[in-house]
Subunit: 249 residues, 2 copies
């Protein structure tokens, strides 16, 4: 999506979320390679399109290395029910936007396990999930506070509780005992979280960051571990005090 702000002052707004499998590159890195010398703004945050269209109040983040470009997109896109905040932490918002889909799959698995409700488990998964996403992001150069913002916790919450989320849906089907192949074959849309899980696990190993939830989701998606066993293993990690965001484990 290219918004023509004024002649010769083009800005690219990146709405894509994910990570390149193998390289772990972010979406704006790939765009910058193809469109050098044009400022790029990543627009992220809790914003299911179905609700934006219906006028549900929505707040998002426009992140760019180019502050003027972020502020232009802020003033162009903001309206009474769609609010845009600016950020200079492109790495943080993109890592958060991509990796939240892994936690959405995990939350979906919890929904599919057959408990009447599993809100306690989902609360724990979101908390620990945000911690491991932050850990990877900070290692990649993100600012810690981004993960406490709309692009971090906000998008994570909305994605994990929404029936619109395709990634949560994939998890739920797998929690119910379907295979990944059966689940994806029955869907007409893409669930980016499946590829993002693979990309994140590779990246976490390369950067020596522990991501126990992503690794568990990865094993479940591959059919290596039963969903309930994977969650039990996560719960049975050694007892200790809660870890600060940047702790090694």
């Amino acid at each position: 999506m290219v918004a023509a702000v004024r002649p010769r002052a083009r800005v690219v707004v990146c709405l894509a979320k994910g990570m390149e499998v193998g390289t772990g590159r972010r979406m704006t890195e790939i765009i910058a390679e193809q469109l050098p010398a044009i400022p790029i703004v990543a627009l992220t945050g809790p914003s299911h399109a179905e609700e934006v269209v219906r006028g549900v109040p929505t707040a998002v983040v426009a992140a760019s290395d180019d502050r003027a470009a972020a502020e232009r997109i802020q003033s162009l896109f903001s309206g009474e029910t769609f609010r845009v905040y600016t950020s200079d932490d492109v790495v943080g918002v993109e890592v958060a936007a991509a990796l939240k889909n892994i936690i959405a799959i995990a939350a979906g698995i919890a929904d599919g396990l057959g408990y009447e409700s599993a809100d306690n488990l989902k609360g724990a998964l979101l908390t620990r999930g945000l911690t491991e996403i932050s850990r990877l992001g900070i290692r990649m150069g993100a600012k810690p506070e981004t993960f406490a913002g709309l692009a971090g916790i906000g998008d994570l919450v909305t994605t994990c509780l929404s029936r619109h989320s395709r990634n949560r849906h994939v998890g739920e089907q797998i929690g119910r005992g379907r295979t990944l192949e059966e689940t994806l074959a029955a869907m007409s849309m893409v669930a980016e979280g499946v590829n993002t899980t693979r990309a994140a696990v590779v990246l976490a190993q390369r950067l020596e960051v522990k991501m126990p939830i992503a690794e568990a989701v990865h094993r479940v998606l591959n059919g290596e571990t039963h969903p309930r066993e994977a969650l039990t293993e996560l719960m049975l990690r050694p007892l200790r005090s809660e870890m600060p965001l940047d702790a090694p484990a």
Copy 2:
């Protein structure tokens, strides 16, 4: 609840959440006054009782100034589906546990406004809500990282998405146009969030901390503002970059 660990080594486990109206005192402060010289542990986190009973995996935090007491409760209460982490931030976990109910009311109001779903709005409310809770907590001496943990974001997420939450229910009824009196008269259980909202607004004024969501919920509960207007006002706050956790506004 008094757990007899061994003779003459009693520990009080505080499960109550809230703040004393008028004084803003925390539950363990009130207990300590009545039971001096006995170590007190606050047990908090995403743990709806209905799910704990059914064996849904649940992770909570045992917080105490007395590390040995927290570790005792950790080992006494932990089982395969109920995991206890320790913390020394009693102020943080108690502020988070009490004030999350204000945001649960706000999330319920969003649910009651008549949108088919309002997950974008709830994601934004939870994010900004956690920010203002953190701001008040830090001003009271809490550690910032507590709000990123199970007692903070974890409990907030679980409470806001659960149909078990009485506070979310109160908000939903009010979002649909009922008055607070009608709503409370129809309930058999207590919704602590109503009193906590009053206590928090008084405390925030005294400590000069801005809590726009708590103030909006307070006005709506008092019938001073229509729910939809209150949310619109929140959304129309001046545009800016996202705030760090400890920023003044």
